[in-house]
């Protein structure tokens, strides 16, 4: 067997197919999330307090610039890949046959719904000038 050894992560798939691409992308999106997700958490839980993050605060402050909208949308894209491919790995480990197929399909449906909801709100929320 020529499977590369890895103590914690998913072993690198053999060959050059789609699974290997997913394996690489999991690591690349992971690095991206290391920066984007931790920054996002730092902003929403350390620099600001959840208590002040009302809907109008988001419209007036948090999403008042294109930069932070693009930032959060990119974060969503990375999460939709990394999180959902990660959960797919978990499903494939514990379920088989029809249960596995149904769960994976359901997972993709949820991902699609989140893509639509997230993209809609980040592109359409009206900026409300402060004051």
């Amino acid at each position: 067997m020529s499977t590369r050894y890895s103590r914690v992560g998913r072993p690198r798939p053999a060959g050059r197919g789609r699974e290997l691409a997913i394996w690489f992308l999991m690591r690349i999106t992971g690095l991206g999330l290391f920066v984007l997700a931790l920054t996002h958490f730092l902003i929403t839980h350390v620099l600001y307090d959840p208590a002040e993050q009302t809907a109008s605060w988001i419209a007036q402050v948090r999403w008042s610039s294109l930069f932070w909208r693009v930032f959060d949308w990119l974060l969503l894209m990375l999460v939709l890949f990394h999180g959902f491919m990660g959960v797919r790995t978990v499903i494939v480990d514990y379920a088989s046959g029809r249960v596995r197929r149904v769960l994976v399909l359901l997972l993709y449906v949820i991902a699609l719904v989140l893509f639509v909801l997230g993209t809609t709100v980040v592109t359409t929320l009206q900026v409300v000038p402060k004051g």
Binding site: S6, V8, L38, F41, A51, G83, T120, V121
Partner: protein, 123 residues
């Protein structure tokens, strides 16, 4: 199962990575929906925000932060070992390094998140 199987550190690193990953995923599903409400139903979002700012909400956020930080640090450890296999020899030391950074970063952040519970005021 977790306590009986003697896989030690490497197995715990794996189990924590998986548990934290699924927990973060579950929060992301909730969080994208709640942010959608900011545009769709702001009153409902503000109501949910009350929960996020409550003591129980804050404890859960601290746990979310812990899951995120562990997953991020251990994820780097996985990448390091995947792309520089000789370093796998030091997998245990690398795991302890993750926990060191986890404590140094996590304790002050946890303090900031939880502080309003006993101070009784929100900033």
């Amino acid at each position: 199962m977790l306590l009986r199987y003697r896989g030690r550190d490497g197995m715990f690193a794996w189990a924590f990575h998986r548990i934290s990953g699924v927990a973060i995923w579950a929060f992301v599903v909730l969080h994208v929906v709640d942010i959608y409400l900011v545009g769709g139903k702001p009153e409902l979002y503000n109501e949910l925000l009350q929960f996020y700012a409550s003591p129980i909400g804050r404890v859960m956020e601290a746990l979310l932060g812990a899951a995120l930080l562990y997953h991020a640090l251990n994820g780097l450890r996985i990448i390091v070992m995947d792309f520089w296999p000789p370093l796998t020899r030091w997998h245990r030391q690398l795991w302890y390094l993750c926990w060191g950074i986890f404590v140094v970063v996590g304790v002050p952040v946890g303090w900031i998140i939880l502080k309003p519970i006993w101070e009784g005021v929100s900033r």
